[in-house]
């Protein structure tokens, strides 16, 4: 189990508990339930890299305590 921090820099800073085998799409779904926004409208970034839904967190080397930028499309 890992905890990933999502920050939208608008006042929301959410800690999401997930597994490294989860895809970004699954992660978005959990996050959407926590925030209350639609998962399809969530865009996760790290730097200029947009995380794609079908790739796992482990593949993106997202570990325990990593910060991810949260955007809304």
């Amino acid at each position: 189990m890992i905890e990933v921090v999502c920050n939208d820099r608008l006042g929301k800073r959410i800690k999401v508990k997930c597994l490294p085998e989860d895809t970004v799409g699954d992660f978005k779904k959990i996050l959407s339930l926590q925030i209350g926004t639609n998962a399809e409208k969530i865009v996760l970034k790290k730097g200029y890299r947009i995380f794609k839904d079908h790739i796992t967190l482990d593949d993106y080397e997202i570990h325990d305590g990593t910060n991810i930028e949260l955007y809304y499309s």
């Binding site: 189990m1 929301k12 800073r13 999401v16 508990k17 597994l19 085998e21 959990i30 339930l33």
Partner: protein, 517 residues
């Protein structure tokens, strides 16, 4: 705003979404609990000092004023008692007392020194014997001068050392005869014992010239004795050295000489063997003379200090074997019915033997002639090059002595190999070869393709059809397949309108096909 869900809540959500729940380990739950505990604000408890004993030794309760500061009393580290509290004033008093005591001590020490300095004509010297500080005082105006003089005289007569020792702390008074401890160290007339004792009295320090003189005189007498004795000792030592040291050297030399003689004997035996062989073969003919010469040269080389290696020994062994073989063959031939070629000597015999070894069936006159010609040609090449002890020389020697047989095929192969090696080193040739190979490949006549056609084309099936299919098992052409793959890879699909269009097209196609069919 920071929001966080517990594992149980996230698990509920995950189950709702159809995801695998997170396994809760006890360590994680403990961590969570501890995390929550840490987040709780800590209650600051006032620090309560444990009850400590208050030292009332010097103070009364009444004397302790209000608002007076209490401090801990100095104590040993090893003390296991409770800490004691004292007022600061007490501490200050104690410090002052200590200082005063130390100053008093200092004054006392300085005062003593001053007192001593005031006395003219006194010379003092200190030295330490163990922990006690001993003061050695020599005073010309001392009352007991006469006593001392008497003692000195006695010492001169009997070789006695007189030491006047006085403890440093008790030297405050000059008039006390009882306070002084006189030590007289009687030196025995025997020098050896006196030398031992003088070591124990090495700390003595005489500043008085008289005493020095006495000591010098004693020393001189002692030295005289010493010199006499030393000479004797030296004589003893020299004698011992001669007797013992020579014995040791002799033993070593004997051992060395034994080893050397053994080695010499070995070398001589070898030489004898060689010389015997030489003598034997000197009579046989010019061929063997040459060999003998070579052997003699070798002997000379060995005399000049050449190191005999394993290879050289091996070669020498080979030589001996071969020579013995030759002897055998010669003997056989001499006993046989061919004593004709005596003029040519053993060379031809040797050649005969070699030819017989190679071709045992060739026993005609023509063959003999041929072999004779060959032998004449090969005489210089047949000579083994014993000067060089390399592999090539040994191999050539073995080949020529028919120990090793090399067939024509092997020779050809060797030549090819050597040629290829040489050509590989030549860059221009390699370039040409590569160009030629390239042309051959373009034409489809390369060696590799030929091999493939020979072996691999039996199972080769050129009619391969690759069919790309969709998720719905729709057949895709290569372009569509690539699009599909890229969509999958990037996680983006075509828009809904495009998908609808494609569906329409497919349906129309199917309808057309049905109509035609």
């Amino acid at each position: 705003m920071k929001t966080e869900l517990s594992i149980e809540e996230t698990n509920k959500l995950r189950i709702k979404l159809g995801l695998k729940p997170i396994a809760v380990t006890p360590s994680e739950s403990i961590q969570e609990k501890s995390h929550h505990e840490v987040e709780e604000p800590k209650k600051v408890q006032p620090r309560v000092l444990k009850a400590q004993r208050v030292d009332h030794g010097s103070l009364d309760n009444a004397s302790i004023l209000e608002g007076e500061i209490m401090t801990l009393k100095d104590a040993n580290i090893l003390d296991e008692d409770q800490n004691e509290l004292i007022t600061e004033s007490e501490v200050l008093d104690g410090q002052l007392n200590k200082k005063s005591e130390s100053t008093k001590k200092l004054h006392q020490f300085e005062g003593d020194e001053n007192e001593n300095d005031d006395d003219d004509g006194e010379e003092e010297s200190y030295f330490k014997v163990g922990e006690a500080r001993v003061k050695l005082r020599v005073n010309e105006n001392y009352k007991r001068d006469s006593k001392l003089k008497k003692m000195e005289e006695l010492a001169k007569k009997n070789n006695k050392y007189v030491v006047n020792l006085d403890s440093g702390e008790d030297d405050s008074d000059d008039n006390d005869d009882d306070a002084l401890d006189e030590l007289t160290m009687i030196q025995k007339s025997d020098f050896s014992s006196s030398k031992k004792k003088s070591k124990s009295v090495s700390a003595k320090k005489f500043k008085k010239s008289k005493k020095n003189k006495t000591k010098a005189s004693n020393g001189s007498t002692g030295w005289k004795n010493l010199s006499d004795e030393e000479i004797d000792l030296n004589q003893h030592v020299v004698l011992d050295g001669e007797s013992i040291g020579d014995d040791i050297f002799d033993d070593d030399n004997d051992g060395l000489q034994a080893v050397l003689t053994a080695s010499r004997l070995k070398a001589n035996s070898k030489k004898v063997k060689n010389s015997e062989i030489v003598k034997k073969h000197q009579d046989d003919g010019p061929k063997k003379r040459k060999l003998a010469e070579v052997l003699e040269d070798e002997d000379d080389q060995s005399d000049s200090g050449l190191v005999i290696d394993g290879t050289s020994e091996f070669l020498s062994g080979l030589k001996q074997n071969i020579l013995s073989n030759h002897e055998h063959t010669n003997d056989a031939e001499s006993t046989g019915s061919q004593p004709s070629n005596e003029t040519n000597g053993t060379i031809e015999n040797y050649e005969h033997s070699s030819s017989e070894l190679v071709k045992p069936n060739g026993t005609g006159p023509d063959v003999e002639e041929d072999t004779g010609e060959n032998s004449e040609e090969d005489i210089p090449s047949d000579e083994p090059n014993f000067g060089s002890t390399g592999l090539s020389s040994t191999l050539s020697f073995l080949q020529k002595s028919s120990v090793l047989k090399i067939t024509d095929e092997a020779r050809l192969k060797e030549r090819e190999r050597t040629m290829q090696k040489k050509l590989k080193k030549d860059l221009a040739y390699m370039k040409l070869a590569s160009e030629i190979n390239g042309d051959a490949n373009n034409n489809g006549h390369s060696s590799t393709t030929s091999i493939v056609t020979e072996h691999g084309l039996n199972d080769y099936n050129p009619e391969i059809k690759i069919t790309y299919t969709d998720d719905n098992n729709n057949v895709l052409n290569p372009k569509e397949a690539y699009k599909h793959l890229s969509h999958k890879f990037h996680g983006k699909g075509p828009s809904k309108q495009k998908q609808a269009k494609l569906l329409l097209k497919k349906q129309q196609k199917q309808l057309k096909e049905q109509k035609f069919s």
